[in-house]
Symmetry: C2
Subunit: 347 residues, 2 copies
């Protein structure tokens, strides 16, 4: 089997997970070359790597480069992405700088792997909450075209990165260590840098910043709209979302109220989703079985449940999706893109 | 000013808050008589009460009786409610046993206080998440009739009662005391009785139990539909909801995607809500100002923000509401009903 030289830019929460996922999936890598802001030795996911400084010539000889695209490495694909393509690499970028670029396929392999056929060396990984939502919706849309999607999210702090994971952890520890009680859970003096407000025992209805082109919406909510349209190939799809951060460490959840162009029973939807690649149906309300982030984090599959007819609209269907935002929502999907390119003879 | 003899059945989280609210609002009470399963002396909200056993004759002489209707006192209004009415009391029931009864007005004073005029001695307090949602929607609906409501909730554990507040508190303390980390936040051996799954660092897309009449929906979600219709006087209103428990102690939040029968700009909606009784508009996304449960808990007002046009549907408007479920969502609304009856000369 052909072996590939794999580059990886950025070793925050997503970059670290990319190393794990490459190893867990036995990706045929003869080399994993980690590039970051400065040269050093560093342990990543249990292995010691000689990290190189990211600069144009550092990409020479690599077959495929994964840009983690969050935290410290944000903006790296803008600096080095197309340069790496010119030097012969295929770039898979988890960041959001090129997702809407016409030259760049935006790919969830289970949904639109065929878009890779038109690649120009640069492929984008969609946003985490968009991936998790579409994993539950796209298999249904293939059978009965989707008309409108309302997606309301419960997003974990790991989507913000390591600093936010630490922040929730430390806030909860400060609560337990102090004289706080449920009626007095507002922390003073505890760390607060990842978010403008305390996240422990709170929910924040803001992810990202205000999006000029969609007044009143955030950048995260705009991604749900524009990325869904591009991935599903439906430029006029009606999409609205409210994206909210919740005090959960790993895995995003999404409450979906969808409208289809023809009837789709919950039974049919359950059957379609049960056969969909990368999806597991967890749906028995009477036994309290449904998707939950605490039990989805760390896993590879997107779980879907609470599937029911939404009687408030014609051909309405509601469901609840849950997936690990760092894995399927980022690192795993990026590695799956590389695997899909190999499968298609594109790498 | 006339003074009233006030009865109170149940002293869980809601009953205790009822005592607080009666005192804070200087309700003209010459007596507060607490009734519970057995006679005893008990401190409630800083006062020592001689609690009497709830039995028919214990209601004699009372002008108005508040049934807390949750936890230990659940079912009490079924046992004693109409008996108390026969003995000359006006009953205000926070429980859910009589809300859909045609004899019983279901009242949020700021919205449908006029329904009290037709009372037959028994008034019901709506469900917490319904109250908080409608406080943000009803003022708009009065100007431009509502067509469809999609409400997706983030509900705090206090809605379940004291045992659930303790459970989240103890789970978080067990996390901090043990060898747990964000990647290993699943607790074993920690208390779990209020919910079928761990609530710390998790979200549970189930509140209540499966509702037979609305396949796939929970009782809590059905309340949002049927109670909203009754309160707004719109028996055909289209309503769908997903109700989710989150690891927050106090205050429920609701992401609303609404459709009106005519255009309603965010500016107009903001102006209407700014003048609505019991509502405060907190809406400046660029300054990270929006409703949040941690800063709404303990307060009297329902805060509304993230007001924006939902471009995915004709005359769509999205917003985010937040209110204290124990106060405005329960105890305070019940006391406000009594106040409104006094104001109307009905008590």
């Amino acid at each position: 089997m052909k072996q590939y030289k794999v580059g990886l830019v950025g070793i925050g929460a997503v970059g670290t997970e990319m190393v794990k996922v490459l190893r867990q999936r036995n990706f045929p890598a003869s080399e994993i070359r980690i590039l970051a802001t400065r040269e050093r030795d560093e342990e990543v996911a249990g292995e010691t790597f000689h990290v190189l400084e990211a600069k144009p010539e550092a990409f020479d000889g690599l077959d495929v480069v994964l840009f983690a695209g969050t935290e410290g490495s944000k903006g790296a694909s803008k600096l080095f992405g197309w340069e790496a393509v010119r030097r012969g690499c295929v770039v898979i970028d988890n960041g959001d700088d090129f997702r809407m670029d016409d030259r760049v396929p935006l790919v969830i392999p289970e949904i639109n792997g065929d878009a890779l056929e038109r690649h120009q060396g640069f492929i984008a990984n969609p946003n985490c909450s968009t991936i998790i939502t579409l994993m539950g919706i796209a298999p249904l849309h293939r059978r009965v075209p989707l008309k409108r999607l309302v997606a309301v999210t419960y997003q974990s702090v790991s989507g913000t990165g390591r600093s936010a994971i630490d922040e929730l952890d430390q806030q909860v520890r400060a609560y337990a260590a102090g004289t706080h009680s449920p009626a007095d859970a507002t922390l003073t003096g505890s760390p607060r840098s990842a978010y403008p407000h305390q996240i422990a025992f709170n929910v924040l209805p803001q992810i990202g910043s205000p999006k000029k082109e969609m007044p009143g919406f955030t950048t995260e909510e705009a991604k749900m709209t524009f990325e869904s349209r591009k991935i599903l190939g439906c430029p006029d799809l009606k999409v609205a979302s409210t994206c909210v951060r919740v005090p959960v460490f790993y895995a995003h959840s999404v409450a979906v109220h969808a409208e289809f162009s023809a009837p789709l029973t919950p039974e049919a939807a359950r059957e379609i989703l049960a056969q969909a690649e990368g999806v597991t149906v967890v749906d028995d309300l009477s036994a309290s079985q449904y998707p939950m982030p605490l039990f989805t984090g760390g896993g590879d599959l997107v779980s879907v449940g609470r599937i029911r007819t939404d009687p408030s609209v014609e051909n309405g269907l509601a469901l609840f999706c849950c997936g690990d935002n760092i894995r399927k929502g980022a690192a795993q999907n990026a590695v799956q893109i590389a695997e899909e390119m190999i499968r298609r003879g594109l790498l």
